[in-house]
C-alpha cells in the first residue's frame, strides 16, 4: 500500500471504531475480535518506518506490546472498557499504540523471534478459547454466558485460521532444489535405500 494512503486509511478505521463503538461493544465477538484488532491496525498503519536504536532486535517494543495485549486479554479489562469512560478512552489510546509497537518490533525482530511470536499467538488464542468456553461462570458483567461461549468459539476459529494462514504457504512452494550442502566425501553414486 502507498505510504501516503496510510494515515487516511487509519483515520477512516479510527472514526469507524469510534462511531460504531456502541454497536461493536454490544457484542463481545465484535468487541474483542473485530474492534480491538482494527484499533491495532490503525496504530500499525501510522507506525514510523524507520529503525530505532531502542528497538534493536525488536525486544523492547514487542515486550511492551505483549504486556499491552496481555492487559486487554483480561475479561476484567474488556468489561471495564464497556462500563467506564476512562477505560474506553484507554482502549482507544493504548490499542493503536500496541499496534504501532508490534510493527516497529516486528520489523527489527529476528526470524526466530517472529516464529516464536506466531506460535505464541496461536497458542494464546487457543487458550482464550478454552477459558471462555469452559468457564462455569460469566467472566464479564456486561456479557451473557452465551456471548462468552461465542467469543470462545471465535478465539478457536482465530487460532485455526492463524495456524492455516501461516502454515499453508509453507506447503505450496515445493520445488526441486539441489542440496545446499554436499557431503565432504561423496562416494560412488549408487542409488540406495528403497529403490524406486
Amino acid at each position: 500500500m502507498k505510504r501516503r494512503l496510510r494515515p487516511g486509511l487509519a483515520a477512516i478505521i479510527m472514526f469507524a471504531c469510534i462511531l460504531g463503538n456502541r454497536a461493536l461493544e454490544a457484542d463481545p465477538v465484535l468487541h474483542v475480535l473485530v474492534q480491538l484488532p482494527m484499533l491495532g491496525l490503525c496504530g500499525a498503519l501510522l507506525a514510523p518506518r524507520r529503525e530505532w536504536r531502542w528497538a534493536q532486535g525488536g525486544f523492547a517494543p514487542l515486550l511492551a506490546a505483549l504486556f499491552g495485549i496481555a492487559f486487554w486479554m483480561l475479561p476484567r479489562s474488556i468489561d471495564g472498557a464497556v462500563s467506564f469512560p476512562v477505560m474506553t478512552l484507554a482502549k482507544f489510546l493504548s490499542v493503536p499504540l500496541i499496534g504501532a509497537l508490534l510493527v516497529i518490533g516486528w520489523r527489527q525482530a529476528h526470524a526466530l523471534l517472529r516464529g516464536f511470536l506466531k506460535a505464541q499467538a496461536i497458542s494464546m488464542a487457543g487458550f482464550m478459547a478454552f477459558l471462555f468456553t469452559h468457564s462455569p461462570v460469566r467472566l464479564c458483567n456486561n456479557y451473557l454466558i452465551d456471548d462468552q461461549w461465542r467469543l470462545g468459539h471465535g478465539f478457536l476459529f482465530l487460532a485455526i485460521g492463524l495456524a492455516m494462514a501461516w502454515t499453508i504457504p509453507l506447503l505450496t512452494n515445493a520445488r526441486p532444489r539441489p542440496s545446499p550442502r554436499t557431503r565432504a566425501k561423496p562416494i560412488t553414486p549408487v542409488q540406495s535405500g528403497v529403490s524406486a
Partner: protein
Amino acid sequence: MMDNNSAQRLPGPQAGAVKFTMLLAGVVLLLMMVFGFVMRAAQGNLIDLDPAMFYQLLTAHGAGMVGTAGLTGAAILWYFMGRYVPLARGVFWAFLGLFLLGVVLILGAIFIGGYGGAWTFLFPLPANSGGVWGTDAAAAFLLGYVAIGVAFLLLYLEVGRKLIACYGGIGGALAWPLVMGKGTAEDAPPPAVVAAMATTIFNTIGTVVGAAVLASSLVNLYFPEFKVDALLAKNMIYFFGHVFINASIYMAVIAVYEIIPEYTGTPWKTSRVFAVAWSLVLLFVMAVYPHHLLQDTVMPAWSLAMGQIVSYLSGIPLLAVTAFSLIVYLRKANAMRWDLASALLVLGVAGWSVGSVPAIIDGMISVNKVMHNTQWVPGHFHIYLILGEVAMAFGFMMWLIGKPEHKAVGGFNWAAFSAYVLGGTGFTLMFLVSGALSVPRRWAVHAPEWVLQSQIATGFALLVIVGAAMFVLRYLLGLKHSAGR
C-alpha cells in the same frame, strides 16, 4: 538457496554441545534403568519397596525415559542438520537449559512432592491424588512438561525454518517433487533432511496438543470448576504421548542414515519410495493413536476402527524407512565395516522393526480387549526403546568418540554389546511372556504366580544395566581421550 561456496561457510555440527548432551543423556538412561531394575526386583519380591515409592519410581522412569529418548533424538537431529543448514547455536543451549529446568521440576515434584500419577498425567488424576501428593507437586510436574515442550518447540522452530528456507518449503524438504515425478534423486534432499522435516512437523503438532492439555490441567488444578472433557483430554494426552515417543525414534534413525554410509563407502540417497514412505509416516504417526483407546467404549466406533486399520497400515511405511530401507541399502553397498557404533545402529533398526510386531498385534480390537492392560504393552515399548531408540543413541555416542579409528567389535566392546543385547532381549521377552499370561502392568505388588517372571526379568535387567554402564564408561573414556588429542 545456497550454492556450494556459501555452503562452505556453514558452521557445521555443534559437536561440543551435542557431546555434552549425550553424556547427560547416557547417565540419565543408566539411572532410569536402575529405577526399572528396582521396580522389577520389587515385583519379584526380591526387595521390599513401599507401593507409594514404586509409583513415584514408575512416574520418574516413564517421564525420564520418554524425555531422555526425546533428548537424544533431538541431539542427533540437531547434530546432523548442522551438516546441511546453518543453525543458530544459541537455540540448542536454550533448548538444553529449558529441558534441564523441566527435569528439575519433574524430579522435585516426584521425590519432594511425592507425585506418582505416571508420566501420562491422565486427567483428572493429577488433581485427585487422594492425599498422596499435593496440588503444588502436580503443578510442578505439569510445569516441568511445559518447560520441556517449549524447549522442543524452540528447537523445531529453528530446524523447521532453516529446512523450509533451504529446501524450497516443507514439500521440498520432504522430497515431494521426487514423489510427484518432477525431480530426480540427485536433486532430492538427503534422507536425514526428509526425516528431520517430517519429525519436525508431527512432533510440533503433537507437542502443541500436549501443551494445550497441560495448560488446561494446570488451570483445573487450582480452579477445579474449570473442567476439561475427560475423553477429549485423554485423546489429547495419548495423541501427544504417542507422537512424542515415536518422534524420538524417528529422530534417532537420522544417525543411521548419516553414519552407516561412513562404514560402507556408499552414499545413502533419497529414493521415490523412501520419500513416499516418510510422507505416509508423517500422516500415520498422527492418525494411529486411537489404538491406545480401544478399551474406551465411549469413543466413536469409526475412530476405533481407524485405530485398528491404521495400526496395520502404519507398519508398512515404518518398515520401509527402517529395516527394508537398510537391507536394500546394505545389499547395494560395497562392504560393511563393523564396530560398536555400527553394530548398535543396526541393532537399533532391527529392534525398532521387531518391536512394531507386538504393537500391531495389540492394535487388534479383539486382542486389545484382553491384552492392553497386561505386560504385553510394556514388552512392545521396551523393545522399541532398549533395542531400538536407546541402541541408536548409544551407537551415535560411540561414533562421536570413535570417529578417527573405528575399532572392531571385540574384547570390552563385544562384552558390552553382548550383555546389552542378551539382557535387552531376555528382559523384553519376559514382559511379552508375562503379558501373554495376563500379568497386569503398573501393579506395585504381584501375585505369587507372577513372581518368577519378575525375578527372571530382574536378572536380565541387571545385564542391560551392565551393558549400558560399559557403553557410558566407554563414552566417558572416549571423550577424555578425544579431548586430549
